[in-house]
């Protein structure tokens, strides 16, 4: 299969799938190597932006998803009136940012940063599927460790956790503080 064929097939599969699809699954179905799929995806991405298409592709971890270009959201919303995702309260945003940057973290660690109890915010985030229990800390009581989910990346338009704004800066500052307080 040539590159044009791979591109067309990938586009068709992404359209029907709707959800993010693993790049490896695409290459397995097509019987091509991963590099061919990656090249095809890159071609699709360029074509969408060159031809001012209403679509775009978004990468989430090692998955790829077909979605609409944000530039045309106004018309999509007018026509279909999609359900608005609710805005987050400040306490949910603060809690989520601590989990996103410091993951995996326990609730006690989140509360130490915020200086207030976070049970409610953590439960709200768990319910919304943006965070999940990713393990247990090897400490007294084996407290749950929280981390962000794929849904978090999608809802915040990130390809991966490393794309969090000022991630290195914040993590470095954290380490610095920890070092100084020793």
């Amino acid at each position: 299969m040539d590159l044009a064929g791979v591109s067309a097939a990938v586009e068709a599969m992404l359209f029907v799938a709707g959800e993010p699809v693993a790049v490896n699954d695409l290459s397995a179905v097509l019987g091509t190597d991963r590099a061919a799929v990656v090249a095809a995806l890159d071609g699709i991405r360029k074509r969408y932006s060159d031809e001012s298409s209403g679509l775009c592709i978004r990468f989430v971890d090692d998955k790829v998803q077909l979605c609409t270009d944000a530039r045309w959201s106004e018309y999509v919303e007018k026509l279909l009136q999609p359900e608005k995702t609710r805005t987050f309260s400040q306490s949910m945003l603060e809690t989520l940012s601590i989990i996103a940057y410091k993951q995996p973290v326990t609730r006690a660690e989140i509360e130490a940063v915020r200086g207030v109890r976070c049970e409610y915010a953590v439960n709200q985030l768990l319910q919304s599927g943006l965070i999940d229990v990713v393990g247990r800390k090897n400490a007294v009581g084996k407290p749950a460790l929280f981390g962000t989910t794929e849904k978090f990346l999608i809802r915040f338009g990130l390809c991966s956790i490393s794309e969090l704004p000022r991630r290195d800066e914040i993590l470095n500052a954290q380490q610095q503080e920890a070092f100084e307080s020793k």
């Binding site: 944000a70 704004p165 503080e177």
Partner: protein
């Protein structure tokens, strides 16, 4: 002095940051400023909060007062090295909290733009149940495969101990015959006479049930003079052998 509702703040650190920003101060300068007294003036609103939230604000108020009092007094001997200076700890907490609060605000901006890209829900494909090809299947072949499966099951079971179920030592039919033969010989008998010292509980129960059967059939009469007293059994009429 005018105070804003404490409920507006996400907690004591949020309130402190608000006061610092309002005074255009650097975090590190809060202890040489009016921040402590400003913070304390907000504590008038403490009663409107839930106890949990109120105690969080009060704890920081206590820390601020502790720091202030330490600054007024001559420096005591350095405390244990392991204990973090409350000033250092509070400054560290404030800086850390500020970072994540700002990061949260940046996340909200990201979300707003991500909210404008839509994706489709996955297409629903009702999956056909797999077809079963029965061509060329004969009854004999089915029997063969059934036997094969049963043999496999048998093999798997070998090694499992076979459970033995012992025969009942006493049954009601035998006991009825026995009672009948005793009564035929003697006309009447005391219930306790029917048992020896070695008799088992099961023998007693089964014999009693046999007696009940005979009573129901009207072939014997039983009499008990006192509560828990001796039961005397008498043949009602000539007993037939078919009682068994």
């Amino acid at each position: 002095m005018y105070t804003v509702s404490l409920e507006r703040f996400e907690g004591p650190l949020d309130l402190l940051l608000h006061l610092i920003e309002k005074s255009e101060l650097d975090i590190k300068d809060i202890f040489v400023s009016e921040i402590t007294s400003q913070y304390l003036s907000y504590m008038q609103g403490l009663e409107e909060l839930e106890p949990d939230a109120a105690s969080e604000f009060a704890a920081v108020a206590a820390t601020l007062l502790l720091i202030k009092s330490r600054m007024l007094l001559p420096k005591p001997e350095p405390v244990l090295a392991e204990e973090e200076d409350p000033e250092v700890a509070l400054l560290r907490q404030l800086r850390e909290y500020k970072q994540f609060k700002e990061a949260g605000e940046e996340l909200a901006v990201l979300k707003e733009s991500a909210d404008r890209a839509f994706s489709r829900l996955p297409e629903e494909f009702p999956k056909q149940p797999p077809k079963v090809d029965l061509e060329g299947v004969t009854a004999d072949a089915l029997y063969e495969s059934f036997i094969t499966i049963m043999l496999k099951l048998d093999k798997r079971k070998t090694g499992e101990p076979v459970r033995r179920v012992s025969r009942d030592a006493f049954n009601i039919g035998d006991r009825i015959s026995y009672l009948g033969s005793v009564l035929a010989k003697r006309g009447s008998v005391a219930f306790s006479e029917l048992f020896s010292e070695e008799s088992t509980r099961m023998e007693l129960i089964v014999t009693f049930m046999a007696l009940l059967e005979l009573l129901a059939g009207g072939s014997v009469k039983a009499e008990q003079r006192d509560l828990f007293g001796e039961i005397t059994i008498t043949a009602a009429k000539e007993l037939s052998r078919e009682g068994a």
